[in-house]
Amino acid sequence: MSKREGEGCPRMKTTQKTDDRDTGANLTSPVIAAFKVFQQDLDTKHDKHERLVKLSRDITIESKRTIFLLHRVTSVPDVEEVLNEADLKLDGVRLKIRLIAEELRGEDLYQYHRAFTPGIQEYVEAVSFHHFIRHRTLISLEEINTKLVFIKEPEAKDAPEGQQPMGTTQVLTFQVTPTDYLLGVADLTGELMRICISSVGNGDMDTPFQVSMFLRQIHDGFSYIGNTGPYEVSKKLHTLRQSLSKVEDACYTLKVRGSEIPKHMLADVFSSKTAMMDQDEGVA
């Protein structure tokens, strides 16, 4: 703000004279009237954008927390309990997405897409992570989208619009775009890598192999898409490769040394290994 004022000052001085004339005669001119309309248009647009950005940030924070919660499944006896808790959290996130859907009613989704895409990607990451832990499969785009269909209570604020007769339920949908889905899944691979490493520390010998199978499939999928996708996708492909190789290395070590090292010591081998990898990440 102060910058703008600073820039404006010298000009203000030079146009002082004409300004006086403007305020005198031209306030009612068609040009000024037209710009008053534009001012309103732009302000409405910017306000909506800001509200969406705020919602998106809330969604990001809540989704990240859900992911942290889900990482606890490696160290607790009752997995189901954690999953149910995560489900509740995700329900909360969906309520926020519902608010986005309400903001976007009658608007072009892509006009404000930039405002909420980070949040949606994070949500995809959380929900697909949750799905993987429970079912060991990849959640599909349709499955995500069907959960984002909201039934609106009839007597809510629709009445003034006049189109819906009272008493009918109104359906509000939010569609995750394929690109957002793709980017969310790319982020998921990082979480999978972490859960793979930490599950070894827990003496779980199956999860690492399941994760590496799954990651390989996803990696193949991304290589199939290659550079036909948007630019961000090819950027994430690099990180995906790194995660995959970490998981594959872990599985390799398990296979080779698993037969030699007593089970209770394996954890130590991997905890030193993860420490090393974390350093790697810090550098990259």
């Binding site: 820039e7 000009r11 030079t14 146009t15 004409t18 300004d19 403007d22 031209n26 001119s29 068609p30 040009v31 000024i32 037209a34 710009f35 008053k36 534009f38 001012q39 248009d41 732009l42 302000d43 647009k45 910017h46 009658g106 072009d108 989704l109 892509y110 006009q111 897409h113 499969t137 990849l138 599909s140 785009l141 349709e142 394929p178 690109t179 889905y181 793709l182 799954f214 499939q217 996803i218 193949d220 999928g221 991304f222 199939y224 898409i225 036909t228 996708g229």
Partner: protein, 227 residues
């Protein structure tokens, strides 16, 4: 749905998307060509000889806008209407140029600011988003700002061509435009960047007016113009 199935579904979506973009790009290229032709035509008003031919140049430009209308009509058919903003960046630039050209023609003809409705009418598109392919407010405003810098150039060249009254009229016009833009709360976006350039155009024209008035060249016309 298995992982490979899911990815091939997404891949199908992406390649369909790319085809649409390819189609749009082709039409936009033709549009840019026409926009350049109109610009070349209108550029000649800066020539000393061009000042007398302004009406005929404008008439010719209006003819060329017919071609623009057909191309824009073609562009409309290339993608679903409700996905305007998904592909917006492909035609944003050319649409701003066309808005500028339309605004310039209208200014040369009537020395008034073109309204958004008029631009939409000249280009054969809509103003309201709900009705189909429309002219975004920001694109319209960007076009008007391009015209402002063109007018500051025109003020200089009209003095060279011996037309001393035009800079004064342009100065009034630009000042009004400037106070209009000052009503807007712009975010830190491309439009804001462009608007930041407006003050230099204002300054340039004020210099021209100053030069004229200090030499008494503007006097007789100003006296006539104010009445």
């Amino acid at each position: 749905m298995s992982v490979p199935e899911m990815f091939s579904y997404i891949q199908g979506f992406l390649s369909a998307d790319q085809e649409i973009r390819e189609d749009i790009r082709k039409v936009v290229q033709v549009l840019e060509q026409t926009a350049r032709e109109i610009l070349t035509l209108l550029q000649s008003v800066h020539q000393p000889s061009g000042f007398k031919e302004i009406p005929s140049k404008c008439a010719k430009a209006r003819e060329l806008f017919c071609t623009v209308r057909t191309h824009l009509g073609e562009l409309k058919t290339k993608f679903p209407v409700e996905q305007y903003y998904r592909f917006h960046e492909h035609w944003r630039f050319v649409l701003q140029r066309l808005a500028f050209l339309a605004a310039f023609v209208v200014y040369l003809e009537s020395e008034s600011l073109v309204t958004r409705d008029e631009v939409a009418q000249i280009l054969g598109i809509e103003v309201v988003r709900e009705k189909g392919f429309h002219l975004d407010v920001e694109d319209y405003l960007a076009g008007v700002l391009i015209m402002a810098s063109e007018l500051s150039r025109l003020a200089v060249n009209s003095v060279t061509a011996g037309d001393y009254s035009r800079p004064l009229r342009i100065s009034n016009f630009i000042n009004e435009l400037d106070s209009g833009f000052r009503l807007l709360n712009l975010k830190n976006d491309p439009l804001r960047k462009r608007y930041d350039g407006l003050k230099y155009d204002v300054k340039k024209i004020e210099e021209v007016v100053y030069d004229l008035s200090i030499r008494g060249l503007a006097k007789e016309q100003e006296a006539g113009g104010d009445k």
